[in-house]
Amino acid sequence: MDDRQERPRDIGLEKQTFVDNYIVASTAGVSRLVHPGQKHPDNPLLSAEREWETGFALEVLTAFYDEEIKLFRMWYAAGERVCYATSPDGFRWERPDLGLVEFRGSKANNIVQGLVGPTNGIVYSPEMVGSEFPERYYKSLRYEAEGWAVYYSGDGLTWTRREVNPVLKGTLVRGVCTTAKSSECFAKGVFYKQLPPPKYLAFPQLQVRVGRFERFCVGFSGCPMTFPDTFTAWTEPSLILAPDPLDDELAGERLADVMEMPLVSSPAEYRSEFSGLAGFRYAGAFAGFLWVLYVGGDGSQDGSAEVQLVSSRDLVHWQRTGDREAIIPRGTKGGWDAGRVHTSNYPFEVNNEIWAYYTGKRVGPAGDAHAAPQHTGIGLARWRADGFVSLEARDAEGTMTTKTLRFEGTDLAINAQCQEGTLAVEVLDREANPLVGFCRDECDAFSGDDLSHIVSWRGKSDLSALRGEPIRLRFHLKRAKLYSFVFADRSVA
């Protein structure tokens, strides 16, 4: 049926990655690799060390790089307290004295006012700076007894609870709900039917009977940009991700190295649960860090947790990437993050890399007896740009052919790594016949490592003659990794 009805994908100037097969028609000798994040050698970069943090596991809520003030900024939870830290480089973190909340007779601490845990990540909208609602530049959702409550802040440090709450009733069983700012640049996005997706995304935890167990699953709720931007028009959550029989099969393996923990002892109870999702915009699609919990105890939530990658085109249908490998794996045995890891509410781009801060725990169980604060911390995982997934060929040459597409722009840029190999591209018509001038033999094969290499054929890169035409691309890879491609408009630059 695919061939009969394939209409060209209009990708315009939108970058294409390989988290799914949206743009991939076929491959031969090429495999999809999911790249785990590179953990910073100094991890954990933050651990409980102040009096007001003592006794609590630190959990990162939100972290990003603020272009305006040239600082990395982080909100994290220490028990009920929400704290704030800054860093010039993202590695060395400082706890500024905010002077807002009194702790043991002193306000010399970094405790944020008005926002208490358990809470979710925060959303910062710098594009709102200068608007008529300066007290709402920062927003957060918190699950309270009667439903979702909205919190606003002008500076991220002093928060006010919205007067009328809840904005959405029920359905959440616990306070974990990540909200992620979906980026502003939707105009060119290949979103469903060209409709802009909701501006704000929330992924509440739903409790659903799956097989023999009531389990944590992930729901989705969207909130459009409203005028004024109240952060209140949330849709009823829909179930989007639930563990399946293969996840349960994986649980046995993933629990193997934590088996010695006394509470993880009952194979009949081995199962998988999804305790959260940090979903975000990723090159024209959506990706998410799925917090996968492998549970092994008798009716308890004890086990291990890792972060896996998922993706979606419409926010309703989500798919698991690759073979469900961890994109942020647990650390090696005995390490500070050997037991459980989960992420902040969204990663961010800086220095041509993707950064994600994550919470790590040494041991699996959620039980207090095991979660001594010195066994937890906040670390950093990094990827090259577009680096979650690549298509790779080893010694034998492999090919990937795209679906029929239409582009804008003048040049084709690839993000690829092949210092010891080659990567060549040919342009085909929709029936997959090579186009004269853009054949494989005519392509100047690329060797090297470049985030944005402009592909050329006999020294010429100009593709504007094919703009708007239905074409396919075929990539020839040998000892090469291809992370993304994008059509660029050099006439604008």
């Binding site: 009805q5 829909s238 309703v316 690759g322």
Partner: protein
Amino acid sequence: MADLHRRVLSIGTQKQLFVDDYVIDEIAGVSQVLNSATKHEANPLLTREKGDFGQFYGTVLYDQDQRLFRAWYMGRGGVHYATSHDGLQWETPSLGLAEFEGSRENNIVPSGPYEGLDYCPEMRGIEGPDRVYKCLRYLNWTWMPFASPDGLHWSEIPAPPIVKGGDECKTCKTHDAASPHPAGLPKYAAFPKLGAKVGKYSRRSVGLSWSDDYVHWSPPVLVMAPDDQDDENAFLRVGEALEAGAIDLAWPEDYRGEFYHMCVFPYEGLYLGFVDVFYICVELWRIGQLNQGGPDEVQLTSSRDLIHWHRAGNRMPIIDNGGLGDWDAGWKSTTNRPLVIGDEIWIYYGANNTDHGGLVWKDTLRTAGLGLAKLRLDGFVSLDAGEAEGTVTTRPLRFEGNQLVINAQCKKGSVAVAILDLEGRPIAGLDAADCDTFSGDSVRHTVTWRNRSDLSALPSQPIRLCFHLRNAKLYSFVFGS
């Protein structure tokens, strides 16, 4: 890197179908093909009285005790009842249970099961003789449970207001005698129509609600929503329906796919669904009416846990859509589960020669009837190879029993089976070359190697099966004694 398909699957003596690729590891030169059901030549088997154009929703079941086919379906004045000795020739008995247009001489079942019923004779001892037949009925914007001892006399089960959701809700038993399922699911599941926002539209989608007693139901969750592929298919199906004369109003801007309802039933260790895909081709407000117009199509889905659904057979229709002038070229809906009769699967379906919009706003030129379409046993999806030999290798399997039985059709071709060890090496004496090649057509052919079928000497470690197919269709395999 994890290789999911290297994990060993314990299948015992459970038959394995190829509706999804749960049991398949590698496939070469073979395709997974949806087999659309063969319509009975005498269709429609049951037509309506003049002027009665309601939907043929409902249930057809075979009552072993009475040796009778029994049908419940929507009609004028309520749910109608019909019986048949052979499933082909139907009678509408005068039940005398309901007064309609001044007479009790009719086949109306008061408070009957218009979405279909669940027949639960095995629960007689547990739930009582009054709840052998059960259904959900839509009352006051919610679904309420009803029960009956005989399928004809129904009463409401006192219950808190239950499954919310739209005006469609199929139900199913998660267990039955033929498919005792080990997953430990609640006994009943309901699939209410929910709205899911996909792209521009809030769309009819499939929800799921659980119950262990048919009285208390969990809050429904979304389990299947239309995607962009369904929207692409809308263009094809609408074009086809225009050609068949089943629609006469289409507005390409409105084209999209939605899920009207899904009929779910257990089959050989998994769950199958007939999802009614509604291809909307026009918003009827464009002609001053409510609702939407468009044709539909019945497609096959499958699930292991009723939460994750697989669109089987590349979303091709399981019941052919019908062409120009056909009585069933328009709206179609299957009864809530098919029947296994002998070595066949009987799918009763209701149909019209007009589309959803036509049902809403047209009063003329309509036929409505109950038809029958058949598949061979396990015949939903097959692994097909042509002239060139193709192979299918399973995941590592642990089985019980000492024989391998296949369901295959290869009158002009052949099927041979090799048994491999975990590393993929043929086990001595059980390679494809040792296998006595099967040519023919059988729903249960016992595989032999050099005239021996006994596998009891096989060591207890897991094995893989590798099927070699040429001009063949392979429907299922099972280990037995």
